[in-house]
C-alpha cells in the first residue's frame, strides 16, 4: 500500500473503529442509521458488512434509551461507540449523557468505569437551520466528567478516535460535518489528510501547532482551524506571521500550548464556531490572563458565532460564522493596525 494514502475524515474515523472492533470484541457501535446506511455523515460506512448486526446496531429513534443503554453496557464491561446523529439532538437525551455517563465514575470513586464514546456531528455553514447546525462545544466541555475532542483533519480523526475507544472515561467525539469529506458537502483543503494504515493514538490534551509563526497566536479547533490557516496565509502576504494552534481537544484543554505560543507572539486571537459567550474563546483567553497577563502586548480578540440561534438564510448564516476575513480583521486589531 502507498505510504502517502490520503483519506477523508469519515474514512479515517471508520478505519479507527474497524481496527478497534477487530482487536477487541468488547467494542460495538450503535445509533440511528449506523447500519446499512453507514451513518448519515459516513461515520460507520462498511462496519455492518464486516461486523454484522450484533455489533453494529441500528437503533430506534430513542436517544435516551440507547445512550442510557450505552452507559449500562459500558459499566458491564463493553466499550460501546454510540452515535448521536446531530449534536443538536442532545436536548432529548442530555440526562443520559451528563447525569449518568459523565457522573457515574465520580459517584463510584472510580470503581465503576464508563468507557463509552459518544460520537456526534457538529457544525453549520450549509444552511441547515438552527436545530441542525450547532457545534455546542462549550455545552459539553462545561460539564465535568466527559472528555471532549474535535478533530480538524483526517489524521487526527483516526488517532483521536482510537484514543477515545481505548479510554476508560466517556469521550464525546465531536466531528464537524464539513470535515468528513462527504460527496454531498464541500470540505476545505486539508480536511482530508495522509493517514497511516496502521493503528495509532493521539493523546488528549495535546494541541498541535498547525502553523508556526511569531507575530500573533490564533487558537482554534475543528473547522475553525481551517479558517485560521487560510487567514494566516492571507496575513503572511501582508507581512504578519501568525501561529495557528489546533487544540484538538477541549477536555482536557492544552493551556500550556497556548501559553507557550503567546509567550512567543504576545498576541492572541481565539476562533470558535460555537456561540461566543461563556465558551471556548473565553476559556482560552482566561487561561492566559489568569496565568500571566503580562504575556499579552495587546488585548486578546475572539471570533465566534454571535449569541443568536443559527439563522437559515445563507447571507445571514455566513454573516454569523467565523471565516478567514473575520480572523484577519481580529488579528489586525491585535497588531494595532486598526482600532480595536
Amino acid at each position: 500500500m502507498p505510504s502517502n494514502r490520503v483519506l477523508t475524515g469519515s474514512r479515517a474515523m471508520v478505519e479507527a473503529i474497524a481496527h478497534e472492533m477487530r482487536a477487541d470484541p468488547k467494542v460495538l457501535v450503535m445509533g440511528e442509521d449506523v447500519g446499512a446506511y453507514g451513518g448519515i455523515f459516513s461515520s460507520t460506512t462498511g462496519l455492518l458488512d464486516e461486523f454484522g448486526e450484533e455489533r453494529v446496531r441500528d437503533t430506534p429513534i430513542s436517544e435516551t434509551a440507547f445512550i442510557g443503554a450505552g452507559v449500562g453496557a459500558a459499566m458491564a464491561g463493553m466499550r460501546p461507540i454510540v452515535e448521536l446523529m446531530f449534536v443538536d439532538f442532545f436536548g432529548v437525551c442530555m440526562d443520559a449523557i451528563y447525569n449518568m455517563a459523565a457522573k457515574n465514575t465520580y459517584f463510584s470513586a472510580g470503581h465503576c468505569k464508563v468507557p463509552m464514546v459518544l460520537m456526534t456531528a457538529t457544525g453549520g455553514g450549509y444552511d441547515d437551520g438552527g436545530q441542525h447546525s450547532q457545534t455546542l462545544h462549550a455545552t459539553f466541555a462545561h460539564l465535568p466528567g466527559m472528555k471532549v475532542v474535535a478533530p480538524s483533519n483526517a489524521y487526527d480523526a483516526k488517532g483521536l478516535m482510537t484514543s477515545a475507544i481505548r479510554d476508560d472515561s466517556p469521550v464525546l467525539y465531536m466531528f464537524h460535518k464539513g470535515l468528513q469529506g462527504l460527496a454531498w458537502m464541500a470540505a476545505p483543503e486539508g480536511a482530508s489528510a495522509e493517514v497511516p494504515e496502521e493503528s495509532y493514538t493521539i493523546p488528549f490534551g495535546e494541541a498541535r501547532v498547525a502553523r508556526e509563526g511569531s507575530d500573533v497566536t490564533i487558537v482554534a479547533i475543528s473547522m475553525a482551524v481551517h479558517h485560521a490557516l487560510a487567514a494566516a496565509e492571507a496575513l503572511a502576504k501582508e507581512g504578519a506571521d501568525a501561529e495557528v494552534i489546533d487544540l484538538r481537544s477541549l477536555v482536557p484543554l492544552d493551556r500550556e500550548a497556548v501559553l507557550r505560543s503567546v509567550a512567543k507572539t504576545g498576541r492572541l486571537v481565539v476562533v470558535d464556531e460555537d456561540y461566543r459567550s461563556f465558551g471556548l474563546t473565553a476559556e482560552v483567553i482566561t487561561s492566559v490572563v489568569e496565568t500571566d497577563p503580562g504575556l499579552l502586548k495587546s488585548a486578546p480578540r475572539r471570533v465566534a458565532f454571535p449569541d443568536v440561534p443559527i439563522p437559515y438564510a445563507r447571507p445571514m448564516e455566513q454573516f454569523c460564522l467565523p471565516d478567514p476575513g473575520k480572523i484577519q480583521a481580529a488579528v489586525a486589531q491585535t497588531l494595532g493596525k486598526v482600532p480595536a
Binding site: 437503533t59 430506534p60 442510557g68 443503554a69 453496557a73 463493553m78 443520559a96 449518568m100 465520580y106 463510584s108
Partner: protein, 328 residues
C-alpha cells in the same frame, strides 16, 4: 413455583434487614434537625427517601438473582441494595458521607454504585431503564446468561426513558426485567391523577412482552412472577414488565408533611404489613420454626447496627478529595 425453606428465610432476612435499616436511618436522619428542621443539618444531611413497606419488591425479585446480574434502582434504593448484597458498612458510610463509603462520600444516598454486586441507582426518575437495557445487551454480547433488573416507581412509567427502554429491550429481546414499585404516590400526586391506565403492567402490551400485575404487596406472588421472568430472560426469552402494588410507610422524603394523603392510610397499610404476613406464612404453612425466624431477625438487626456504628466511627473525607475521580 414455591420458595424453598432457604429462599423463604433469605427473603425474610432481607426484608427484616431492610425494614430495620430504614427505621434506623429515619432516626439517624433526624439527629441535628430539631427543634428546627434543616435539611442540610445533622450526620445524614440532604434528601432521604426511605422504602419501609416496599421490601417485597426487593426480596421477591433479588432472591432469583446472581451476583453477576445487574440491578439498577431508583432514588429510593436502600432495600434493593440490601437485597442485591451491597456491602452494608460501605453503603451506610456513603450515606453518612464518610471516607469509607462506597464512593468516599461523593455519591450519597441516591447515588450508590457497587461493581462487586453490579448494583447502581440514580436520582433521576426513569433513568434506571436505559442502563439495565445496556447491561442486558452486554450480557448477550458476552455470551452469558446474566440478566438485568430495572426498578422504577409507578411515576416513572410516565417518563419517556421508560417507554424508550421498554421498546428497545423488547425489540432486541434482551434479558431485562422491569419492576415497577407502585407505592401509589409520585411524591404527592396519586397514581390515578397522573396515569391514564390503572395498571402499568398493561403497558407491556404496547411492546408485545409479558406484563404481570402483583397485587397487595404479596411477597410470595412476586416470588413466582419474578422467578418466571428471570428464568425467561436467562433462557433468551426477552424482557418482562412487572408492576407490584406496594406500600410507602414514610413520606416521599423525610420531612414530607404528607398533607396530600389521609392520616389513617399508613396505619391501614401496616395492618397488612408484608413482613408480618411472610412470617405468618413461614410459621403457619411451612416447617420453619420460630427460633429460626428470630435468629434471622436478630442477625439482620445486628448487621444493621454494626453498619451504622461503622459509618458513625468512620472519618470524614478530606475536603480536597472532592477533586479526585472525575475521570477513570
Amino acid at each position: 413455583m414455591q420458595p424453598s425453606k432457604e429462599q423463604l428465610l433469605w427473603m425474610y432476612a432481607v426484608m427484616a434487614k431492610a425494614r430495620y435499616y430504614e427505621d434506623t436511618m429515619a432516626q439517624a436522619y433526624m439527629e441535628g434537625k430539631s427543634p428546627k428542621f434543616d435539611i442540610g443539618a445533622g450526620p445524614v444531611p440532604g434528601e432521604m427517601h426511605l422504602a419501609a413497606g416496599q421490601e417485597p419488591c426487593a426480596a421477591g425479585v433479588c432472591v432469583h438473582l446472581r451476583r453477576d446480574d445487574t440491578v439498577t434502582a431508583t432514588h429510593r434504593p436502600h432495600h434493593v441494595a440490601i437485597a442485591k448484597g451491597v456491602d452494608l458498612n460501605k453503603m451506610t458510610a456513603e450515606i453518612f458521607g464518610k471516607r469509607t463509603g462506597l464512593a468516599g462520600g461523593r455519591g450519597g444516598h441516591m447515588h450508590l454504585f457497587d461493581p462487586a454486586t453490579n448494583f447502581a441507582c440514580s436520582g433521576i426518575i426513569g433513568e434506571s431503564a436505559g442502563p439495565a437495557t445496556g447491561a442486558g445487551l452486554a450480557a448477550r454480547l458476552q455470551g452469558t446468561d446474566a440478566v438485568a433488573v430495572a426498578y422504577l416507581g409507578e411515576g416513572a412509567a410516565n417518563q419517556g426513558a421508560f417507554h424508550e427502554a421498554l421498546n428497545l429491550a423488547a425489540l432486541w429481546q434482551l434479558p431485562v426485567i422491569f419492576v415497577i414499585e407502585d407505592n401509589a404516590w409520585a411524591i404527592s400526586v396519586a397514581k390515578d391523577k397522573s396515569t391514564a391506565v390503572a395498571d402499568n403492567s398493561l403497558r407491556a402490551k404496547a411492546y408485545d412482552i409479558p406484563g404481570v400485575h402483583v397485587a397487595d404487596n404479596d411477597t410470595l406472588e412476586l416470588f413466582k412472577v419474578a422467578g418466571k421472568a428471570v428464568k425467561r430472560a436467562r433462557a433468551g426469552g426477552g424482557p418482562t414488565l412487572i408492576e407490584v402494588e406496594t406500600y410507602r410507610y414514610y413520606g416521599h422524603f423525610q420531612g414530607d408533611p404528607e398533607v396530600y394523603r389521609p392520616k389513617d392510610e399508613v396505619s391501614g397499610l401496616k395492618a397488612r404489613d408484608p413482613i408480618l404476613r411472610l412470617r405468618k406464612h413461614m410459621l403457619g404453612k411451612t416447617d420453619i420454626r420460630e427460633a429460626e425466624v428470630e435468629q434471622a431477625l436478630a442477625k439482620a438487626r445486628a448487621e444493621v447496627d454494626a453498619a451504622f456504628e461503622f459509618a458513625r466511627k468512620s472519618a470524614d473525607p478530606a475536603p480536597e478529595d472532592a477533586l479526585q475521580h472525575v475521570f477513570a
